[in-house]
């Protein structure tokens, strides 16, 4: 807000002198010199790129031990700074701490690759990922402030789980029953971060971090339920021998996790988050039952997302409700193509499809605007 505008409002009689002075004082205290920041940013970026270029051009000439020592010293320096100055930094800006934690964790992850380059070691990717998780997740959980740290925790856990499953089931080897259950358990385990977040969210001053972590875990659960419906729609459960055992295991973990979230976080928001996670788990075995069908699998998908929309309404999550409406609309369009794909082969069919897409989009926007809760309340 410029001082010129405030002066204009005063001259137009919209605000009195006292208000003008208070506004001017407030703006002066909260000024954000974006242009100056941009110049600083461009300068810092140029220096950073220059340093990276010089190091990269001479990478092979720098002894491996020196590179590793500098890498580890950087991590040590950032860890020391975090431990010694976290409170002071957070008081000035939580984002400073968040950036420090995230960069430290990222440097830690790249250290594994650096070690592999210097010593020519090799291993399945899940092993360094799992070790990184074990070493850095405590730090992220104890100092994370917002979504980058939450994303690092949840993304790291999901990536590790899927890499482990991928590495354990390659080369066309069909896993036996026990191994199938174990792999399904590993894939589903990251959802339990929702329970941790729900339990600690109300007990920690870093509410934003736990809220983001719970949202990410919830999104993972919903993605699992949706994926099961999508797999069922093209008969994907026919392939694996022990698909039912895998689906039941994943579903059971999600149902148990969902109920635990309800118990861990009292209130409508916690109940709805838990219900969505448990619902995603319940959908999985039902999707197995609807394998290789078009309409029943789509109905399951609609039921899951209608439930999410209803939960979002109950908990007053505006964005959650709008997303549910949007996903249902998108699935409706896909379903129409599945049922009448032949129509797309001629001009009239394309026109009809276009009109239908516009109609569904219009209906989704109307429903979303009319029924969505007011902005402000999120999970």
């Amino acid at each position: 807000m410029s001082a010129r505008k405030i002066a204009e409002w005063h001259e137009a009689g919209l605000i009195d002198a006292a208000t003008r002075d208070r506004l001017a004082a407030y703006e002066a205290a909260h000024a954000r010199p974006l242009l100056l920041w941009a110049v600083w940013g461009i300068g810092a970026l140029a220096i950073g790129l220059g340093v990276v270029s010089v190091v990269a051009a001479n990478w092979e000439d720098i002894p491996g031990l020196v590179r590793l020592a500098v890498h580890l010293a950087l991590i040590a320096g950032l860890l020391g700074l975090l431990f010694a100055r976290e409170e002071q930094l957070a008081a000035r800006s939580p984002w400073a701490v968040e950036a420090l934690v995230f960069v430290t964790a990222a440097l830690g992850l790249t250290f594994f690759g650096h070690l592999g380059q210097v010593y020519q070691t090799a291993s399945p990717l899940w092993q360094p990922l799992a070790l990184w998780l074990a070493l850095f997740v405590p730090l992220l959980l104890l100092t994370g402030r917002s979504w980058p740290s939450a994303l690092a925790v949840m993304g790291g856990a999901v990536w590790t789980a899927w890499e482990y499953v991928w590495a354990s089931s390659r080369y066309g080897v069909e896993p036996d029953l026990g191994w199938s259950i174990w792999l399904a358990l590993v894939v589903a385990l990251p959802v339990l971060f929702a329970l941790l977040a729900a339990w600690l969210g109300g007990r920690s001053p870093r509410e934003d971090f736990w809220e983001r972590l719970e949202q990410l875990a919830l999104a993972y659960a919903v993605a699992g339920g949706s994926l099961a419906c999508a797999v069922a729609s093209f008969g994907g459960f026919d392939g694996p021998t022990h698909a039912l055992a895998s689906v039941l295991t994943c579903g059971a973990v999600l149902v148990v996790g969902g109920f635990a979230v309800v118990l861990a976080r009292p209130g409508v928001s916690g109940q709805m988050a838990g219900a969505i996670i448990a619902g995603s788990g319940l959908v999985m075995p039902l999707a197995y039952g609807a394998n290789d069908t078009t309409i029943p699998a789509a109905i399951l998908f609609f039921a899951l997302w209608a439930g999410i929309g209803a939960a979002a309404l109950a908990a007053q999550w505006r964005r959650g409700f709008q997303q549910a409406v949007g996903v249902i609309a998108l699935r409706l369009i896909i379903l129409s193509f599945e049922l009448a794909g032949d129509l797309l082969m001629n001009g009239l069919g394309l026109i009809l499809a276009g009109v239908m897409i516009l109609g569904v989009a219009w209906g989704a926007v109307r429903v979303s605007k009319r029924f969505a809760p007011r902005a402000g309340g999120e999970a």
Partner: protein
């Protein structure tokens, strides 16, 4: 209490990465070098740069997919010169045994063994840009086996 937890959370990554580095360094520097022929080529990739794809051409065993899957090998010769290799039977006598850390079946039915520590270091000059990019080429590899069968190996390769 929370201060100790934060201290532990800050110290854990440092200790873990430091230990991993020390273990890698110890393994790398405690081996014996062997020269092992390889068969491979040097692809070029916009993201990965120049690198080498190869498989060992064990003298006496060869690179036949059906033959390269033993769980253990016995190296014969005087390091770094490798005269021949035989499949090592369980408990058989061998001066330089090399054991596979993982063995799995390939879709083709052949067995693929991964020998602990035998992820060789290919010298950069081995991956010099090829004018016939993507074409198959032969390499010989200078592997660097270690005193123990499970130690890691370094190797240098040059086109022949």
């Amino acid at each position: 209490m929370i201060r100790y937890a934060r201290l532990a959370a800050a110290a854990l990554p440092l200790l873990g990465l430091g230990t991993l580095w020390a273990m890698s360094d110890r393994t790398y520097n405690s081996g014996t070098e062997w020269e092992v022929p390889i068969a491979g080529y040097d692809p070029r990739d916009y993201l990965r740069g120049h690198y080498v794809e190869f498989s060992y051409d064990w003298p006496g065993v060869g690179s036949d997919p059906a033959q390269i899957g033993p769980e253990a090998l016995c190296l014969f010769g005087t390091a770094p010169r490798l005269d021949r290799v035989t499949t090592l039977e369980q408990g058989g006598p061998c001066a330089h045994p090399l054991r596979a850390s993982t063995t799995r079946k390939a879709p083709s039915g052949s067995t693929i063994s991964r020998f602990e520590g035998f992820s060789p270091q290919i010298a950069c000059e081995a991956a010099t840009p090829s004018k016939e990019e993507g074409s198959a080429r032969k390499f010989s590899v200078l592997a660097t086996p270690r005193p123990t069968s499970t130690a890691s190996t370094t190797a240098t390769a040059s086109p022949i």
